[in-house]
């Protein structure tokens, strides 16, 4: 009888401990986060995904985090993380769909500067893959090119040599294109990284100073490019060509 009582007491204490520890050292796995999300406790899901994102990344993780942000009303964060997911995997359909939906709720309507169609076409082609994907594709083309060189040099059949020559030539061009795009995309992201406005509204000023002339206002979720940085401030440019200075803490880089 007394043994049973003690047993029950120990169990109770253990449960108590587990409860307290569980709050502070929550074992965050994608499963627990997904459960939070399913229970519509989006804030907890957000916190959990944030925890997971400290250890590593994956498009799905960014996507799930973005969904939690969206559901808990953080439009800017949601858009930022959809973009991050798409940066790793530009073919992520769900992320594309949700990003489009979130973008419809942005206050700012920014008309991009019109560019020559060929230029925008080439730029869009670059966005088809991420920098690393372009690099892998380039390497793949390079390997085929090398193989074709060997075939061309040592094949005793004429038709094979002919085919190998043209295939190799084509692969070389593809290789150069892919590596170029890989470099272009990388430099774009290093030199002028894109960012998303995370606060309700922010004032863009003419100088990196609180007293700078107020140029225009941007709202949560708007996309912009970071041109330059100076201390706490960064110079940004919006798609319509307007630029100015804002505090770094108000935006999140993709």
């Amino acid at each position: 009888m007394s043994a049973m009582w003690i047993n029950r007491k120990i169990k109770l204490i253990l449960a108590f401990l587990a409860f307290f520890c569980g709050v502070s050292v929550a074992e965050c796995t994608p499963e627990t986060a997904a459960n939070y999300y399913a229970d519509k406790s989006y804030h907890e899901a957000m916190a959990c995904y944030e925890e997971l994102l400290r250890t590593g990344e994956s498009p799905e993780l960014y996507y799930n985090y973005a969904n939690s942000c969206y559901k808990s009303g953080h439009l800017g964060l949601a858009i930022l993380n959809y973009e991050k997911a798409l940066k790793i995997n530009p073919f992520y359909d769900d992320a594309k769909f949700n990003l489009a939906l979130a973008n419809q709720q942005i206050t700012d309507k920014i008309d991009p500067v019109e560019t020559f169609f060929l230029v925008s076409w080439l730029e869009n082609l670059g966005k088809l893959f991420s920098s690393n994907q372009w690099a892998y594709l380039g390497l793949f083309c390079f390997f085929i090119f090398l193989a074709m060189v060997l075939v061309f040099l040592f094949s005793s059949w004429r038709w094979l040599r002919k085919t190998a020559f043209w295939t190799g030539f084509f692969m070389l061009i593809l290789f150069i294109t892919c590596v170029s795009y890989s470099y272009i995309e990388r430099n774009k992201q290093i030199q002028t990284p894109e960012a998303i406005v995370l606060v309700g509204s922010l004032v863009v000023r003419s100088a990196p100073d609180e007293s700078g002339t107020e140029l225009f206002v941007l709202h949560e979720g708007s996309k912009l490019k970071v041109k330059d940085e100076l201390g706490d401030w960064c110079e940004i440019v919006v798609a319509d060509g307007n630029s100015g200075w804002i505090k770094k803490s108000l935006i999140g880089k993709i």
Binding site: S58, N67, S131, L150
Partner: protein
């Protein structure tokens, strides 16, 4: 019980009656504002109810010449069956001032219906007597004036300016006064200057012109104010106010000779028109000192500023009102509405301005109330900065800046879930949107990889470029070498093909002589196959009749020779296992083989 009721009723009635009386009784004293000393004048107490026991205060500065005379008037009015009756009792005293100066006659008291009432006090200015014509004892001033000559001295208009030297935007009061010692009937067609360079505010005067007496240059005049203007100079420098003109109608005793008997009894009077013109006035306007504060917008005078906000915490899309009150005295109409610098994201509406000004002889006084309406569209903490208002203080001759306090504002998220306002959607799109939601999270197992870095340009990338390139190069070199070796062997075999074939044929010829049929054909076949093998650089195992034909064709061997070659092979294979032993046939094969090899040698060489 009933008795008490009655008593209460009576009491109530009495009280109500009392209150009716209390409301209606008025007891006033009236006397002229100014009077020349030695001239008798009337002090009248008026009460509008039957009264008794008038007690007037002590008036040591005046002699009571006559009075009190009591006159009573009574009027009854019936309007829509309601009868109202008024009684007016006037107590008239005739007084004479003993000396010059300003004196106040205190309040008198009277009892109406057992209630004591106090009159107002009266201030009387006693002027010195006329120098030229001292007032005669027995004639009234009115008559005295009427007898005067109609000269410029006796009737003129004077612009009385309160200040001749003012600051820009500081008021000066100009009063047009008529001075007359004649029997003035009317003023017609007054024409006032246009006050160029001034902002003009006219002071409302009572409809009834108030006459008063004034001593001007040793003479006593009846004066009244024609018009009064507050002038706010708009520019600095000397500003000239051009003269005003008007026509005065004066009643004078007829100068005609007495014609009839009655004329001498009744004075005949005549209305004469005289045009009057005031003097021009110069007003010196000093500019405002420099430098002025940056937010100075031209307000001059004495002001106070206050503001209040209707709420300090609200949710997005709710309206917010800030009220700003500027009150004081000065050029109120010229005050520009101060702007509140709302945070940039606020929707700000045109402020509503309520002006409540009155023109007094001491300038325009009043209050300007400005209501600012703004709607924050997004959540956040905002600061509405303080409003500053600078003005030139006339009293201290310096600029003063008033400031309100800044307001801290906490805007919470509105009802919209995302906190942003969706306004530019058409209805159709909105319906479509309402029905859609973001897609669900990814629930399949996914790997969390370490954070990716850029691959291109790293040493790994270059490794993957250079390593396969090197391998390929090595392969090329290796294959090249081997191919060269192969090519050398083929060439040697080619060169030696004829020799080898002939050697074999020699062995065949030996066997021919010996009659060793099988060995002979064996050797011939070996010679043929070997020759072709060497010539075409192909191993014997790969050879057969079909591909020999094709290969020989590519080496430009004629079809006839190829056919001959194939036939020879067939013949040899056939003859080898044939039962017949024909030496002639063997000879034939031998010579054909010798000829064919010789010819082919020549053909392939080419």
């Amino acid at each position: 019980m009933k008795k008490i009721d009655k008593l209460i009723f009576l009491l109530l009635f009495a009280l109500s009656a009392q209150s009716v009386w209390a409301e209606d009784v008025s007891f006033t004293a009236s006397a002229p504002d100014a009077i020349p000393s030695g001239t008798p004048f009337q002090l009248v107490y008026t009460v509008n109810a039957s009264s008794k026991d008038l007690r007037i205060p002590e008036i040591p500065d005046f002699d009571i010449v006559a009075g009190p005379f009591t006159s009573q008037s009574h009027s009854t009015q019936i309007v829509n069956g309601n009868m109202t009756s008024t009684t007016t009792i006037r107590y008239t005293y005739t007084l004479v001032a003993k000396k010059e100066g300003t004196f106040t006659i205190g309040a008198a008291s009277i009892v109406v219906n057992k209630q004591k009432y106090q009159s107002n006090s009266v201030t009387i200015k006693v002027l010195p007597p006329d120098e030229e014509a001292p007032a005669s004892q027995n004639s009234g001033s009115q008559q005295n004036i009427a007898t005067q000559q109609l000269t410029a001295d006796n009737l003129f208009v004077l612009p009385v300016v309160s200040r001749y030297k003012v600051r820009e935007q500081e008021y000066t009061l100009v009063t047009y006064k008529i001075y007359s010692r004649v029997d003035l009937v009317d003023i017609q067609a007054p024409k006032f200057p246009d006050f160029k360079g001034f902002l003009v505010q006219e002071i409302d005067l009572p409809q009834q012109k108030r006459l008063s007496m004034e001593n001007y240059k040793g003479k006593n005049y009846n004066t009244f104010i024609l018009r009064q203007f507050l002038l706010y100079p708009q520019t600095s420098g000397t500003l000239k106010i051009s003269p005003m003109t008007c026509d005065a109608v004066v009643r004078i005793r007829s100068q005609q000779q007495v014609r009839s008997f009655f004329d001498s009894f009744f004075d005949t009077y005549q209305d004469v028109k005289k045009s009057l013109s005031s003097a021009a006035v110069n007003i010196e306007v000093l500019p405002l000192p420099k430098p002025a504060p940056s937010d100075f917008s031209g307000a001059v005078g004495k002001f106070t500023l206050s503001s209040n906000i209707n709420k300090s915490s609200l949710s997005a899309n709710e309206s917010l009102t800030i009220q700003l009150k500027i009150s004081g005295n000065g050029n109120m109409k010229m005050i520009k509405t101060p702007t509140i610098k709302f945070p940039a994201d606020f929707e700000v509406y045109e402020p509503k301005v309520i002006n409540d000004f009155t023109n007094t002889t001491s300038g325009v006084t009043g209050m300007k109330t400005i209501e600012y309406l703004a709607i924050p569209r997004h959540a956040g903490k905002f600061t509405i900065p303080a409003v500053t208002f600078s003005y030139f203080d006339v009293a201290s001759q310096s600029y003063k800046t008033l400031s309100t306090s800044a307001y801290e504002l906490n805007v919470e998220k509105g009802t919209s879930t995302t906190g942003s306002v969706v306004t530019n959607f058409t209805n159709q799109e909105q319906v479509r949107l309402l029905g859609s939601d973001i897609r669900y999270i990814a629930v399949n197992d996914f790997d969390i990889k370490p954070f990716s870095t850029f691959f291109v340009g790293t040493w790994r990338f270059w490794f993957w470029i250079w390593c396969p390139l090197l391998i390929t190069l090595l392969l090329v070199i290796f294959f090249r070498k081997k191919a060269k070796e192969n090519a050398d062997i083929a060439l040697m075999r080619n060169k030696h093909a004829n020799k080898v074939a002939r050697k074999r044929l020699k062995v065949a010829a030996k066997n021919l002589k010996l009659g060793n049929k099988e060995v002979f054909y064996d050797e011939v076949l070996k010679a043929l196959w070997g020759y072709v093998s060497d010539k075409l650089a192909m191993p014997i195992a790969e050879l057969n009749k079909e591909n020999i034909a094709a290969r020989l064709q590519s080496k430009e061997v004629t079809d006839a020779k190829i056919k001959e070659f194939i036939d020879l092979l067939n013949d040899c294979e056939f003859a080898r296992y044939a039962p017949a032993d024909d030496a002639k046939e063997m000879d034939n094969v031998y010579s054909r083989t010798m000829a064919l090899i010789t010819e082919m040698e020549q053909m392939i060489k080419k």
